[in-house]
Subunit: 329 residues, 2 copies
C-alpha cells in the first residue's frame, strides 16, 4: 500500500498484520460448512482502511504501550465493516462485490443474515475485549449511525428531488461514521487529550465523506471491469448519489434529462437509454462539482489533523486523507 513506505511505519504495518490475524481468527465458527465462507468474506475485505486509520490516529500518541487494545479495536472495526457489507449486499440483492460473488449467490437470505449477525457479534466481542466503556460506546454509536444512514438511503431511493445536504447527512452515517469512530477510538486508546480525540474524530468524518463521494463518482466514471459491477450500478438500483444530484439540479424542471434519470431508477429505461444517461452525467459538470466537494473535505480533514504534533504521524494522516482522492485520478 502506498501509505506504508517509510521506516517510521514499520510499527503500523506490523500491527496491521496482527489486526488481520485477529480478524481471521474471529471469523471462524465450529461449523465446518461456514468457516470457509467467513474466511473468504474477511479476506475479500482487503485494504483494512478502517483499522489503518485507527492505528494512524494513535501513532502520534502512545502507540507501543497500547498496541493490544489497538489490535482488538482494529479487528472490531474491520469486522463491523464486513458485517455491514454482508447485510448491505443482501439488502441490495447484490450478486458481486469487487468482482467477487457475494454470499447471496451461494446461500439463501436467511443464512446470509445469520452470518452477518455472527460477524456483528464477533466484532462486539472484540470491542468488549478492550475493557474500555468509551471504546464500546464509540462502537455502538458507529453501528447505530450506519443503520440510520442505510435506513435513510433505503427510504430515499428513487426520489429525484434530493438535496446535497440530505446526501451528506446519509453518507455521514452510512460511511463516515466508521472512519470517524476509527480515528476517535485510535486517538482515545493512544491516550490523546480529549480535544485531540475530537479533532481526529472530525478528521475521520471528513475523510469518510470524501471516500464516499469518490466512490460515487467512480460508480459513474469507471468501467464495469474496474468496478466489478455495472457502471452506474447505484443509479440502476435507485440510489441517488452526489453526481446525480448535481446533474439533476443543473437540469431545468420538466426537462427530458429528469425523466430519463427516472427511467433508470424505476427500471423502465432500455439498456441503451441507461447507457445514454450515464454517459450524459459523466460528461456533465456534475463530476467536477463532486470532485470539488471531495477535495474540500480532504482539505478540511487535514486542518483537523494539525493537532497532531508528531510530524511523521501527521504526514501519514495527510497521506491517508489524500488516498480518498488519489483513487479517482
Amino acid at each position: 500500500m502506498l501509505l506504508l513506505t517509510t521506516d517510521v511505519n514499520e510499527d503500523v504495518t506490523r500491527t496491521l498484520g496482527l489486526v488481520s490475524d485477529r480478524v481471521a481468527s474471529a471469523a471462524s465458527v465450529r461449523h465446518d460448512e461456514i468457516t470457509p465462507l467467513l474466511q473468504g468474506i474477511v479476506r475479500a475485505g482487503g485494504k483494512r482502511l478502517r483499522p489503518l486509520l485507527l492505528l494512524l490516529a494513535a501513532r502520534g500518541y502512545n502507540f507501543e504501550s497500547t498496541a493490544d487494545n489497538l489490535i482488538s479495536a482494529g479487528a472490531a472495526l474491520e469486522l463491523l465493516h464486513v458485517a455491514s457489507l454482508v447485510h448491505d449486499d443482501t439488502v441490495d440483492r447484490a450478486t458481486s462485490r469487487r468482482g467477487v460473488p457475494t454470499l447471496n449467490t451461494e446461500l439463501d437470505t436467511g443464512a446470509v443474515i445469520l452470518i452477518g449477525d455472527y460477524l456483528f457479534a464477533q466484532s462486539a466481542k472484540l470491542a468488549a475485549e478492550t475493557g474500555s466503556p468509551r471504546v464500546i460506546s464509540i462502537f455502538a454509536t458507529i453501528l447505530s449511525d450506519i443503520c440510520d444512514g442505510q435506513l435513510s438511503e433505503m427510504l430515499a431511493s428513487n426520489r429525484l428531488d434530493q438535496s446535497r445536504d440530505e446526501y451528506l447527512d446519509r453518507v455521514g452515517g452510512k460511511t463516515a461514521s466508521l472512519f470517524a469512530g476509527a480515528a476517535e477510538m485510535g486517538a482515545f486508546i493512544g491516550g490523546a487529550p480529549e480535544s485531540d480525540v475530537q479533532e481526529l474524530r472530525q478528521f475521520g468524518q471528513d475523510v469518510g465523506i470524501a471516500f464516499q463521494i469518490i466512490d460515487d463518482v467512480l460508480d459513474i466514471t469507471s468501467s464495469s471491469t474496474d468496478l466489478g459491477k455495472p457502471t452506474g450500478n447505484d443509479l440502476r438500483e435507485g440510489t441517488i448519489t452526489l453526481p446525480v444530484i448535481y446533474y439533476l439540479q443543473r437540469s431545468p424542471n420538466g426537462s427530458d434529462r429528469i425523466s430519463a434519470v427516472a427511467g433508470v431508477t424505476d427500471g423502465t429505461a432500455s439498456a441503451e437509454e441507461v447507457e445514454q444517461v450515464i454517459d450524459d452525467i459523466r460528461s456533465s459538470s456534475a463530476i467536477e462539482e463532486s470532485m470539488v466537494d471531495a477535495r474540500s473535505y480532504v482539505e478540511s480533514a487535514c486542518k483537523h489533523a494539525e493537532v497532531v504534533t508528531n510530524p511523521e504521524a501527521r504526514e501519514q494522516l495527510d497521506a491517508f486523507a489524500a488516498l480518498a482522492i488519489d483513487r479517482a485520478s
Copy 2:
C-alpha cells in the same frame, strides 16, 4: 403477571416499567415511516421475561442503588431479544408471531434486515451505557451464542438422526444464552459475589433450556389458535425439536413413522399426513419424556438459586423457574 404479586416486588414491578419505557424510547428513529413499526415490534414483545430475570437476580443484593444500570441492561437485553426475533422471522420467512403479522408481511427483506440491525445497535448502546466492561462482555457473548445456536439450527434442519445432546447444545445458544446472560448481568450489577454470579448464570441457563423445551412441546400439543401459527410449525419448517427426537428414537429403523416425519420436513406430505404425524407425536410418550427433562432443568435451576439468602428474592426466582413449566399445564 403471576410472579409479581407480593409487596416486596413493588420495586421490581416499578423498575420493569422503567425498562419498558427505556425500550420504547430506544426503539424510535428520526424516520417517521419506521418509528411506528419499531414501536409495534417492541410492544408485541410483551412479557419482558429477560429483564424480569435480570431484576430478580439483582433483587437479593444491592437492588436500589444499582437500579439505573439495571434499567439500561434490562432494556439492552429486551432489545437484543426483539432484534433476534426480527431476524429470525426473516430467516424462517415467518408471516406471524403470536398471531400478530411479522414485519415480513409489510416490508421487503432488506428493510427488515436493517430494522433488526438498528435494534441490535440500540441494544449495544444501552449495554454501553452501563459503562461496565463485564456487562458489555456478557452482552457480546449472548449475541455470539444466539447466532451460533441459530446457525446450528439452520445447518441441522431436516436432519432426522439428531441426538438430544445436539438439541440441548443448540438450545443452550439460541435461547438459554439470553436467560443465562440476564441472570449473570443482574447478579453482577447488583454486586453479588462472583461465586453467586456464576450460580445465578447457571440458574438462567437451566431455566432458559426449560422454557425452550416447553415451547417445543407446546408447538406440538397446542391448538393453532393458541399458538398463533399452525400446530407443528417447527416440524413443518424442518426444525427437529426434543419431542420429535424422542419420537424418532422410539421408532424402529426403517419404520413408516420415520418416513412420515421426513415427508413433513421436506414438504412432500399432504395436509392430512402432516396432521396424522403431529397427532401421533402428541399421543406418544415423547411429550411426557420432554416434560420430564423440562422439570429436571427447573429443579436444577432452583438448586443453583439456593445461593440467594434473601428469602423473598429466592422465592421469586423459584417462581420464575416454575413459570417455564406452568405454561404447559
